[in-house]
Point group: C2
Chain length 265, copies 2
Amino acid sequence: MLTNTRSDRVRSVQALSRRSMRSRTGFFVVEGPQAVREALAHRPDHVRDIYVTSRAAARHGDLMSLATGAEARVHEVTEEVLAALCDTESPQGIVAVCRMLAVDLDGALDGLPPDAVVCVLTNVRDPGNAGTVIRGADAAGADLVLVSEASVDIHNPKVVRSSAGSLFHLPIVAGLPIEQILSSLRARGVALLATDGSGTTLLPDVDLTRPHAWVMGNEAWGLPATVRDACDVVVRVPIHGLAESLNLAMAATLCLYESARIRHG
Amino acid sequence: MLTNTRSDRVRSVQALSRRSMRSRTGFFVVEGPQAVREALAHRPDHVRDIYVTSRAAARHGDLMSLATGAEARVHEVTEEVLAALCDTESPQGIVAVCRMLAVDLDGALDGLPPDAVVCVLTNVRDPGNAGTVIRGADAAGADLVLVSEASVDIHNPKVVRSSAGSLFHLPIVAGLPIEQILSSLRARGVALLATDGSGTTLLPDVDLTRPHAWVMGNEAWGLPATVRDACDVVVRVPIHGLAESLNLAMAATLCLYESARIRHG
C-alpha cells in the first residue's frame, strides 16, 4: 500500500502532466475506470502501472482481472495518494501509467482499407475539442486519426479524458508536419477534404465514395490557406439558422458520420 | 467612467453569477463582443446595461451603434472593473446585463411552423453541453428549444458562453416540468423522439417527415424510463467503431442535422 503523497513515485507520475516530461519518458497518465479499462482491453501492452484504491479495486473486479492478464503492475494506494496522482477534481479511484502511442505514419497508412475514412487535425489547441473529435471519429468508424505537430499533445490528460477511451480504439499518429501528412495521404490515393467555414461545397454534396480524409483546423481561425489549397475540395457544413458556425467537435462529427452513412448505409 | 471594483453596481452584477439572484432580479450577464452583439441584434429590448472598456469600445464600433439603437445604457469602465464583472479568465472588454428570456410555452408552441423541429433537454446538468446543444439546434435550423426544470439554468454564464450567441437566435423556454413539456407537444401533434443509447430504432430509420421533438437526457445516465415511455419512439445514433457512446452535444447535433437533411434536402 502506497501511503506517501510526496514519494518519488508519486512525483514521477505527477510530472507526466507536463508535455516535456511525457516526451522525455515516453509515458502518460490515464485516469478513471472507463479509460483504464479501454487501455487494458485494447492496448494491454501499453499499460505499465496501475494505481488503485482498495475501494475502487473492489468495485472494478473485471478491471483487476484485465490488469493481471496484461501484466501491468498493480499498486494499491490510499485515497490521498490517488488524489495526488490525478489531474481531475473527482478522481474515481484508479489511474494508469501507459506507454505513449506509436508514431508510424507508413505503418498506419499500410493498414488502411480500400474505402478508408481518415480524420486529420491541424493546429487544434483545445484538448477537450481534440479528445471529443477522436471520440467522434471512433464512433463514426473512422480508420485513422492523424494529428499534426502544431496541435495539442494527444497524451494531455484533458485529451485522454474527453476521448472517453477512444484513444485506445483506433490508430492515432501524432507529431508530424501537416505537409507530410497531406502528401503521404495523397500518394496513397486518399482524397483530401478540407472543412472550413469558407468552403464552397456543402457537406451533403461531397463525393464520399472514394477513400478520403477530413482535414480540420483550429477552433477559432479554421484552416490556413496553404492547407486549404493543398486539399482537393473545401467543404462547409450547412448552417440553417442564425448561428455563425458550429464548434470543431460538432462539425467533425457531422462530417465523419456523413462518411459512415455512405459506407454503412 | 466606472473605476471602483468594489462599488455596489459592480457587486450587483457579480451577484448575477448566482442562480438565486438571477431568479430574484430577472437579469443575467452576457460576456464578450460576439454574444453581446447577438443580444443587441436579435433581442435588443432585453439588453439593459453594457459595460465596456475604452479599448473595446474603440474596437467594436458596430456594437456601440447597435447599443445606441437598442437604448441600452452604456457604461465605460476600467480594465479592472471589467475583469471584476466577468466570469471568464480572459474577458474581452465588454459585458452586458440582460433581462432573462421569457417563459411562455403556449406562445412558443403557437409560433411553430407545420414542419416544426423542436429540441427538448431534460436533466442536462453540464452548462457547456447545454450551451453547445443550443448552438447546434440553432445551426440545424430548429424552431424551438425546451429545457425542463430539472436542468442547468440557461442563463448560467457557461451556458451563455458555449451557446456562442445562439441563446438569442431561437425561442428557448426553460423551467417547466418535463411532463408538461411532453404533453403540450403531444397535444399539438408533435411526435416525441427520445434519444438514448438503449434505443431500438436507428437514427437513419426514423420518420422525420412529421413535426417532431428530439428529447435528450442527462450526459451520464440518459433519459429516465418514464420519459422514454412517454415518447413515441426511442432512437439510437449508430456507433460504428468501439466507442461506447457519443457525448450529448454530438448526439444532439447529429439528430438535429438529420431533421435538417429531411427538411432542407
